[in-house]
Subunit: 369 residues, 2 copies
Amino acid sequence: VFYHLECHAGEVEEKASDICIEQTVETARQLISDEWIRDTIVARVESIDEARGGGYDVVVCFNPGLVDRNLTGLLNVLYGNSSLKRGISIRDVQFPGSLLSFFKGPRFGIRGLRELTGVHHRPLLAAPLKPLGKSAGELGELCYELAAGGIDIIKDDHGLADHPFCPFRERVDRVMESIERAAGKTGRKALYFPCVMGAHRTMEARISYAKERGAGGILLAPMLTGFDHMRSLAEDDGLGLPLMAHPALMGLFFSSDIHGISHAVVLGRLMRMAGADLVIYPGAGGRFPFTEEECLAIKEALHEPFSGLRPSFPVPAGGLSLPALPGQRALFGDDVVFLMGSNLFAHSESIRESARMFLQAVEEPLQVL
Amino acid sequence: VFYHLECHAGEVEEKASDICIEQTVETARQLISDEWIRDTIVARVESIDEARGGGYDVVVCFNPGLVDRNLTGLLNVLYGNSSLKRGISIRDVQFPGSLLSFFKGPRFGIRGLRELTGVHHRPLLAAPLKPLGKSAGELGELCYELAAGGIDIIKDDHGLADHPFCPFRERVDRVMESIERAAGKTGRKALYFPCVMGAHRTMEARISYAKERGAGGILLAPMLTGFDHMRSLAEDDGLGLPLMAHPALMGLFFSSDIHGISHAVVLGRLMRMAGADLVIYPGAGGRFPFTEEECLAIKEALHEPFSGLRPSFPVPAGGLSLPALPGQRALFGDDVVFLMGSNLFAHSESIRESARMFLQAVEEPLQVL
């Protein structure tokens, strides 16, 4: 684990040593009489180097056997108690194969989603159903326009729940009717990802209903409902639907440069370990402060070889516009899902027409700059 | 919701207005043609004031009907997308009764735990089973010493999982044998809280086993396994055990003064809404950077009247020692659980003797300073 410590030269050795204790035995070294525990359980400082830009880069090695074969245990070992201290952040993690072998990763991944959508040689297009406040019927109509215009993936805005003005089941019914109706016209069936949150029994009931009605996938916010919960859904053969991760509340990891866990680890590697086939995150230049460098690091972490885990689609969003699309495509390449909301709806008088222009923009071959 | 915005005077109105949009409809105001949505769904800025210490205090009112009767939905409405921005934090939240009425809160609370333990007029005492690396049998022996010495609540260290060197079921068996054996000697039965993490099916199986073997409660880390998951356990009549919340990873909320959600809201109000009967958090003066003020604010939020929800026990920990106890008792009063680990084990040659001294220290009437 590559920690970054923000501290003085005189403190860094002790701080590094404290992490080895705090994240494992949580007790003073002198109280550990058992040599096996000192050697096998307590983590070990591998190196300490001055970091460019200040502070120290500290590599700490943990016994991967401490992780209880789940992400809850992993996050706990990486950062459980250290999150409560200051000046400790995680820049990167190298996971040993022995640990990764417990994780099945995305069920579909990029290739599986290309098969499901029948789109093989361009970025996929996604659009949200919004705004919160519209009725199920109104969102159904919006869905029809988007699907008829050629959008591949249509997702609930993550604020949509089971409100009296737009009940979950009624929304799934209306949206799936629109998906079918548009498919009859275009010959291609868009995938609908309803948003599912809440206590686990509530989620189970909603997910069953969505599956039964033919939903194309499920939108989850794993920071709210649990990384391991997403993983158990990805591993559930009875479900067998792609999972899209929303970053709600995940900004807690990225509050500053000296606290939290890096974008590439959380939104990249951990999301793949959690089984996310698609990972939504704020694109650079939109209304969130993610930099181009951070966005690319996440993309790399979702794409690159990672033990046997399938690569996942990055889904940059949060202010994407048609004029910004060529630049974003040059940045992300074609193995990406572009999610456009407000700027798509505002682009022309007709949402279906805007959707067509969105599609046209990605159907042209990628210009290598 | 009492947000704090770190920004210039010229930006504050727009930033405040953005929160109203970002946390609800997520779309530009001019795109919302529906008057009902503008009036009922979009949040409203109630006031903007310069904050002492810099930045701005901004009060934003949300329609409580947007919260989907669960904590996932609540956290999402409060801070879901805003967490991904910078300079936005939540200092306090006033929850309307209509919202709180969906939450049953702690099943036992302070009074219920006093009945279960038979301790009515002093702080309760807790101690952890540690360090990670000990076998189930060794932790069982430690448990016996603690229970025989008079500790009321014995909990797993939160790193204990289901490791080959200390399997969950074997640990529960050994510990419960010690609890029974000590009870035969002292006449009082300590409550054992095993730590349960992981995917939900794993947790369900472990919780059932613990309940069957007579565990006194369950230790959860709700930031890892979900606030709503804890709540559903609290509401589960079939379980009917007290729940203790561990703050692992919860430090993400407290990374700095200008990002996150305040200690009193997260560790106080939200934990009560999640049904935690006991809430562990770092005490001031230990090895974590929580201040006395923050610790007291959490205590107040756990104790004070809060719609019909039962008050919960604050459990300050993380470096408590016998010499520090009188000061902590003066600070917290008697409706508190003191959790002491390493410093208890290091206090004397005999852990049982140290436990007795711990008990003696709180059996003396509280000195009003």
